[in-house]
């Protein structure tokens, strides 16, 4: 298996990247706050190709906030717990803005006690209620790990019969904002492989209301990872000339209408999607390398149906090379789990082993120039995929 390190990235190479760098410079929270004041209905057009210019652009943070409003309305048993959730503050990233005003009985601001909050959510779930926990920075979910691993996930099956547990732990993750080593991690890999615990990631291509409904309907604990740099990005937008379609929880960004065999299949979680599409664009224009991107909403258990479809010849011949992207640092990654799944099932359809693209084996530094050297960006993706295709 080939690991691609992305440690050496110069400033010039990251010049085309906008999401990560401008997030730091302009202060993304301000952007979200402004956005919230003009909150619109959540975008529900999962298959939209590009943002509709006639409609105000809905940002991911607004979509999340609207989803929570709608869920609280629909489910009278749903509780929302977390630190600093109350208006006018509305949560550190403003995702819960307005909720405590509308649902004061069920939106509970808590002490700084991630372990207890998660346990309380599990207690509510055990009583038949539903609960969503906001962990302010996903990094702090480490403090809730016992409740997730040893209680909430275990309870689904360790008492001999299935115990429904409707709870979601929301974890803002990822770097690119200069928050430093303990506020920038992508923790997905630490939660993989726990029976009874499903992992999801917010993406610009998946309406969050549907994602929340799916998680609660699973009746087992779920962790929802939210890449912080997505909050200010538009929903459903994809760069020209690509189109996006969504089916069964996985979005597919492609040039399928060309009916040409892609050179590479890229698989990426939601937080990497815009970086992947930007790299796909430069690969196409500069290298004439054609890629198709899959963005699954559920990271674990790995959904094999879209992999099967993408690696089976149809109207579009299937690509023979695969790269899995993620922002997580090297070692024991989600990509390794996906690669293993693909190797076990589709080895004979590949021309080479799946390539993993992830951040360097490093803490995530605070200074912008140092952070850029560690994290995966579109230039690193471009280089990695070019190597996959051209060798």
């Amino acid at each position: 298996m080939t690991g691609v390190e992305t440690g050496v990235v110069t400033g010039a190479e990251t010049g085309a990247e906008t999401g990560v760098v401008t997030g730091v410079v302009t202060g993304a929270e301000t952007g979200i706050e402004t956005g919230m004041e003009t909150l619109t209905a959540p975008a529900t057009t999962g298959g939209a190709g590009r943002a509709d210019p006639r409609r105000p652009t809905v940002r991911v943070a607004e979509n999340l906030n609207a989803a929570l409003h709608e869920l609280m309305e629909r489910r009278p048993d749903l509780h929302l717990l977390g630190e600093d959730l109350l208006d006018p503050y509305g949560g550190a990233f403003k995702i819960t803005r307005g909720l405590s005003t509308r649902f004061p009985e069920r939106v509970l601001t808590t002490p700084i006690s991630e372990n207890a909050i998660t346990g309380i959510a599990a207690g509510l779930a055990l009583s038949g209620d539903s609960a969503i926990v906001e962990i302010m920075f996903g990094d702090f979910a480490a403090l809730a790990f016992d409740q997730l691993l040893n209680f909430a996930a275990k309870s689904v099956s360790m008492y001999g019969t299935r115990v429904p547990m409707r709870m979601v732990v929301r974890c803002p993750v990822g770097g690119g904002r200069g928050y430093g080593p303990t506020h920038s991690q992508s923790l997905q890999k630490h939660f993989i492989g726990i029976p009874g615990l499903a992992l999801y990631e917010v993406s610009p291509f998946h309406d969050n209301l549907a994602v929340f409904e799916e998680m609660l309907e699973r009746a087992e604990p779920c962790v929802l990872f939210e890449d912080k740099v997505l909050y200010t990005r538009p929903m459903h937008a994809v760069e020209s000339p690509f189109t996006v379609e969504s089916a069964g929880g996985t979005a597919r960004v492609s040039l399928d209408f060309l009916r040409e065999q892609p050179d590479c299949l890229i698989i990426a979680p939601g937080g990497m999607a815009h970086r992947a599409v930007a790299a796909m664009r430069s690969l196409l224009l500069e290298e004439e390398i054609l890629c198709t991107l899959l963005v699954p909403s559920r990271l674990y258990p790995v959904d094999t149906a879209p992999l099967e479809a993408a690696l089976t010849d149809g109207a579009v011949p299937a690509p023979r090379r695969v790269a899995v992207l993620e922002e997580s640092t090297a070692g024991g990654t989600w990509g390794a789990e996906v690669a293993h799944t693909i190797h076990q099932r589709y080895w004979d359809r590949l021309s080479r082993p799946v390539t993993l693209v992830h951040s360097a084996a490093s803490v995530i530094p605070t200074a912008a120039h140092l952070e850029r050297e560690v994290l995966v960006d579109e230039a690193a993706i471009h280089r990695a995929v070019r190597e996959v295709v051209r060798g």
Partner: protein, 306 residues
């Protein structure tokens, strides 16, 4: 601190139902050690020898609609609530009729509104969540959590106590302070007092010594009634662990073991009421022997893995 009561003067009179249940729990735990000794049980277990009276004292203060959270040393808690020897033994032995299909075993049991977990302190936040539900959906009911003195080493206890007090949740924390955490005496693992820790959160505390069940219930009754109104309570039972932490891992010095034996409620009660003990102990052992023979003859439990 209240001095230990004079042994002779403190020996209460127990009614047959309470004493019978206490002796049944004792006989059950001794049977487990016997089965382990003969290689008939798998894994591990933690007996509550010496502490049997605690859940028996608490049981009538609870309503069937209340939740009970137990821990690794929970057989007595389960038996006091359900008197279901055979479901519990089948669970521990992995036989047909196991209350959780043999998946949970000794430390992970759920039945109706009873649940135990094997990680120290973990159940306190969960109980807070259940109590939050009860406060809103079923006011007047409570969540009762059994923990030990050793559990006070876990941060989860303090996170939960803080929230329980802040949100006025109906949680009754029953501490079985047996003075030892596995092999570590309380003098080496607990600074200050349990009362002081409860006080730090503005949570009421009641220290219970002895095994006069009627007196204990009389004293705790009004406090438990207040718990139901959202005034949480830490009820600390000063008790003694007679046996090893689990099966054969008792490294305590002989004087400590002797002291625990001398303080054992049963040896004290037997001295004062030999005939009652002999009669009920015989009944208890006969019952437990029959259950053990029956369960041991059953086929293995079945579980459909999700």
């Amino acid at each position: 601190m209240t001095p230990v009561l004079d042994l002779a003067a403190a020996t209460p009179t127990l009614d047959d139902a309470d004493l019978g249940l206490m002796l049944t729990i004792r006989a059950f735990e001794l049977k487990l050690l016997d089965l382990y000794g003969r290689g008939l049980l798998n894994g591990t277990t933690h007996t509550c020898l010496g502490q049997e009276y605690v859940p028996v004292a608490v049981q009538p203060l609870l309503d069937p609609g209340d939740h009970v959270f137990s821990n690794h040393r929970g057989h007595g808690h389960y038996l006091a609530r359900f008197q279901d020897l055979d479901g519990l033994l089948a669970e521990i032995m992995g036989r047909e009729g196991a209350v959780c299909g043999g998946v949970g075993g000794s430390q992970h049991i759920r039945r109706d509104r009873y649940l135990s977990t094997g990680v120290q302190g973990e159940s306190l936040p969960v109980a807070a969540g259940v109590a939050l539900h009860l406060k809103r959906a079923e006011p007047g009911r409570l969540a009762c959590v059994y923990i030990g003195d050793g559990t006070f080493g876990e941060g989860a206890v303090y996170e939960a106590l803080n929230i329980i007090a802040l949100w006025r949740l109906p949680v009754l924390v029953v501490v079985e302070n047996n003075g030892i955490a596995q092999s570590t005496p309380v003098t080496s693992h607990l600074s200050g007092t349990i009362a002081g820790r409860a006080a730090a959160f503005g949570v009421g505390h009641c220290r219970v010594e002895g095994f006069d069940l009627a007196a204990i219930r009389h004293r705790l009754g009004p406090l438990v009634a207040r718990v139901r109104q959202g005034v949480p309570l830490v009820a600390e039972f000063v008790t003694h662990r007679l046996g090893p932490h689990s099966k054969g891992d008792d490294a305590r010095p002989e004087p400590a073991v002797r002291e625990a034996r001398e303080a054992d409620w049963l040896s004290r009660y037997r001295t004062a009421h030999p005939a009652q003990v002999e009669r009920l102990d015989h009944e208890a052992r006969t019952l437990v022997d029959a259950v053990a023979d029956d369960v041991a003859a059953r086929p293995p439990s079945r579980w459909t893995r999700p």
